[in-house]
């Protein structure tokens, strides 16, 4: 189905989210929609899929003008949207989830729905357990399920909003293969992303948005510098690898063991030197977060010992870890990191830990102003944190880490941020390394791991590799290790976690709802 968006306009207050966008997408294409955070990609897609109404402009499908009043209306016209966090019902059975919103009689025909969707899945080479509960599936599987549901309902246009966030590398490959197959069948795919390499790999056309306007289109082969130039109005270069001069041993793990749910770490030995950055690689939920949380004193140590600066911290509480300079920054910004409703100044007052009963608002405002300037946060001391954009929330979280910490434990510090913010954040983090702080972080971005780590630990199927030297490891090597290959013989038997390791792992990162609905969506 051919899509024509004509002069789409939408503003929220004074902000022009879409400022007259005209775009034609021919049938059978995989159209990339690129743009940094806040460029208007999501708004445009929400208008096309009926979630929001344009202030002005028209939408034509196959030359026919259409008016989408609601998402349900859009799917009747053949337009379906796959959200970053799948809009499904985790505690329900897959079949019930499929039937919600599907037309039909009073008593739903469960068996027919299942066989139809199973047939669709088979034709696309996907395999989903249709008898399972939605919550027991991984984010990647839930995405596949949504995709199948939309196709089952007759979608001919599929919009995918940042679909690769939080899914494994293998699932990403499956997704891309499926999308290519669908495009070959004449379906039109709109792929929204800020990850250039994904757009490069998958898309057959690219449109770049900036500040609510369409600033350019491109056909393959794409020139990355040109796309980046269009996105940011200037060239952004990631800069050189940072070299570190490791100091004395800061953190020492001796035969560390820990467990949470079905994930278990055993006999892990590691020494982290001052100024060093350690990257934790691996499929989501292979124990990386458990290691971070154990090092932060948030989860009990079952075996072995943790030493910080020579002092034995085994069995001490989170408060004591914190007092000795361990800072933990969780992945979910608004759930665990920041407190919605409180302003930036309130946050700094809350963390400063000064004695006294009354708070000094003036001091809070001054601290906030100083940190806002230093961390380049777009906001004021009185801005509630939830009003900040994702990138600014992340900067605020890091600004909250008191200067003078020794060890920073970061969970997906740059997830969902655009290239420019990533570079800025790391330059700030590396400054701190220069002052002798050490960093341990998790990431699912291989380039990020290789560029910013000094050493990398790979978590796979219940094992942790020996530390790899990031400077001499290539992306392909790292990818293979994460996928289960071993480098120079067997990985050292340091950790045993859940059995299997097929990507259907229990997850400690809260990234997919593993059975328990309370940790459903982020």
């Amino acid at each position: 189905m051919e899509i024509r968006l004509i002069d789409i306009r939408k503003h929220f207050g004074p902000v022009k989210a879409n400022d007259g966008i005209t775009l034609t997408v021919p049938a059978g294409t995989i159209q990339g929609i690129l743009g940094e955070n806040g460029a208007g990609k999501s708004t445009l897609m929400k208008i096309l899929s009926g979630y929001q109404h344009a202030d002005a402009g028209r939408i034509e499908l196959d030359g026919r003008p259409v008016h989408m009043r609601s998402p349900a209306d859009a799917i009747r016209h053949g337009v379906g949207m796959l959200h970053q966090d799948p809009l499904d019902f985790p505690p329900m059975r897959v079949v019930d989830n499929l039937l919600i919103g599907a037309p039909g009689r009073l008593i739903p025909q469960r068996r027919e729905a299942v066989s139809a969707v199973a047939g669709l899945a088979g034709s696309l080479g996907l395999s989903i357990d249709l008898k399972a509960e939605v919550g027991s599936l991984t984010v990647g599987e839930r995405q596949q399920l949504e995709l199948l549901r939309l196709l089952w309902l007759g979608a001919r246009v599929l919009i995918l909003d940042e679909p690769t966030t939080g899914i494994s590398a293998r699932q990403r490959q499956e997704l891309f293969d499926t999308l290519r197959r669908l495009a070959a069948q004449g379906k039109t795919i709109l792929f929204v992303s800020h990850k250039l390499e994904e757009v490069e790999e998958l898309c057959t056309r690219v449109a770049v948005l900036r500040q609510g306007r369409l600033v350019g289109e491109a056909l393959p082969p794409f020139r990355v510098e040109r796309l980046v130039g269009m996105m940011f109005e200037r060239e952004v270069t990631p800069g050189e690898r940072f070299a570190c001069t490791p100091g004395k041993t800061l953190l020492r793990l001796a035969g560390l063991g820990a467990e949470h749910g079905r994930i278990r770490l055993e006999g892990l030995d590691l020494e982290v030197k001052a100024g060093e950055t350690i990257g934790l690689a691996g499929m989501e939920g292979s124990g990386q977060s458990l290691l971070l949380q154990t090092c932060a004193g948030l989860r009990p140590v079952t075996h072995g010992r943790i030493y910080l600066d020579g002092a034995d911290l085994t069995g001490k509480t989170y408060r004591q870890f914190k007092k000795r300079g361990v800072a933990y920054v969780p992945a979910t910004r608004l759930e665990e990191g920041l407190i919605p409703g409180l302003s930036l100044a309130d946050h700094f007052l809350l963390t400063e830990n000064k004695p006294g009963f009354f708070i000094n608002r003036e001091r809070g405002r001054r601290t906030a102003e100083e940190r806002i300037a230093r961390f380049n946060i777009k906001g004021t001391p009185t801005s509630p944190v939830e009003s900040l954009s994702g990138g600014n929330q992340q900067r605020a979280l890091l600004a909250l880490v008191e200067p003078g910490s020794k060890l920073m434990l970061l969970e997906h510090p740059t997830r969902g941020l655009d290239v420019e913010s990533v570079i800025y954040l790391w330059s700030k983090l590396k400054e701190r390394c220069g002052r002798g702080e050490a960093i341990i972080f998790t990431s699912s971005d291989l380039d990020e791991l290789l560029r910013y780590s000094d050493r990398i630990l790979v978590f796979f199927a219940g094992r942790v590799s020996e530390p790899l030297d990031a400077a001499t490891t290539t992306v392909d090597e790292l990818g293979e290790l994460i996928g289960g290959a071993s480098r120079s013989g067997d990985p050292v038997d340091a950790v045993s976690a859940w059995p299997g390791g097929d990507g259907r792992a229990p997850d400690d990162a809260g990234c997919h709802a593993s059975g328990a609905p309370e940790n459903g969506d982020a």
């Binding site: 609601s70 799917i75 499904d88 019902f89 019930d96 919600i100 919103g101 008593i107």
Partner: protein, 332 residues
């Protein structure tokens, strides 16, 4: 106690628990849609008083029950308007309404205190009533008790087997996703909150015209039951069948506290009277035992077979509340 007395006693439990069954299923509908109607306690009192007055004045039981349902629906409509349209706190609205309705029922019911009103009569079902044991328990009841039996099955079938029931669950679980699938979230919430209120309203006359016939103001013995209803809905995991079992359990405990009184001379009667309430709380805790971390640990130590069986049992008992319960829906 001989067999016949026991059967009659149990039949009495079914009758006495019927209003609780109807009210809990009504509240289940509302909460499945995402709205907590906390006004249940006040609603039951107000509809008990209101329908008793209607019955005394008109002599018509049918009109009395219609009045009860209308009162319940009207109170629920206030909760719905406040929480769905005005997006105010459901807890605050429900709480204030429950206190208001209670005092209003005592005030307005004052002139009718102690009057003699009509009562629901038993309508045995021919042939079925002759079945031994079961006939006496299930088929020698009044119309509203039969209604409560039908309601349990009907509500379960509606919620878990029909398409509108699926939409109802979707709306209470994740309204934004339900909206994306074409559900009219606010309409669904209004409809089920009002329907639920009407059912809660029927519980009133079931007390004042049958189970605890008459209106005796503050000593009617109805104050507090509404809170039990709210607890049973949680214990019953928002499932009509489990909710009904909870109501029957409470009825049974109340009956036992009366029957056992002569045999337990050492225990003050007041203790026996209030015993059903803490026992309900203990049951609630027991049902949710699977949520505790130490249980998981104990389970892990068990051998494979019993572990799986126990885990399955705990999972079946576990209560998972509709995720958007009490959360207003904003559509952007």
């Amino acid at each position: 106690m001989d067999g016949a007395t026991l059967v009659i006693g149990l039949a009495g439990v079914l009758t006495a628990a019927a209003p609780l069954v109807v009210a809990t299923i009504g509240e289940t509908f509302a909460e499945r849609a995402g709205v907590i109607n906390l006004s249940v306690n006040g609603t039951i009192l107000l509809s008990a008083m209101g329908s008793f007055v209607v019955a005394v004045s008109t002599g018509s039981l049918v009109l009395a029950f219609i009045a009860g349902a209308l009162i319940g629906a009207l109170v629920a409509l206030i909760v719905a308007f406040g929480s769905i349209t005005l997006r105010q706190s459901q807890v605050a609205i429900g709480f204030v309404l429950t206190l208001f309705c209670r005092d209003l029922s005592y005030f307005l019911g004052n002139p009718f205190m102690g009057e003699k009103g009509p009562m629901l009569s038993v309508h045995p079902i021919p042939l079925l009533e002759d079945i031994p044991v079961l006939g006496t328990m299930f088929f020698k009841q009044d119309v509203m008790t039969y209604f409560s039996f039908v309601l349990i099955a009907g509500a379960w079938w509606w919620i878990f087997r029909t398409r509108p029931g699926l939409v109802l669950r979707a709306v209470g679980e994740r309204p934004e996703a339900a909206f994306a699938r074409g559900a009219r979230v606010k309409l669904v919430r209004y409809a089920y909150t009002t329907l639920g209120g009407a059912l809660v309203g029927l519980a009133g006359p079931m007390y004042s015209l049958s189970v605890k016939a008459g209106w005796k103001g503050t000593i009617s013995g109805l104050d507090g039951l509404g809170w039990i209803v709210l607890a049973i809905v949680i214990f019953g995991a928002w499932n009509p069948v489990r909710v009904a079992l909870g109501a029957y359990l409470f009825g049974l405990l109340q009956w036992l506290s009366v029957v056992l009184q002569p045999h337990l001379q050492g225990i003050p009667s007041q203790v026996l009277q209030v015993a059903p309430f803490p026992l309900m709380i203990l049951t609630l805790l027991f049902v949710n035992i699977g949520n505790a971390e130490w249980v998981e640990r104990v389970l892990a130590a068990l051998p494979e077979r019993p572990r799986k069986a126990v885990a399955r049992a705990i999972r079946a008992l576990r209560v998972v509340q509709p995720r958007s319960l009490g959360v207003p829906f904003e559509q952007d």
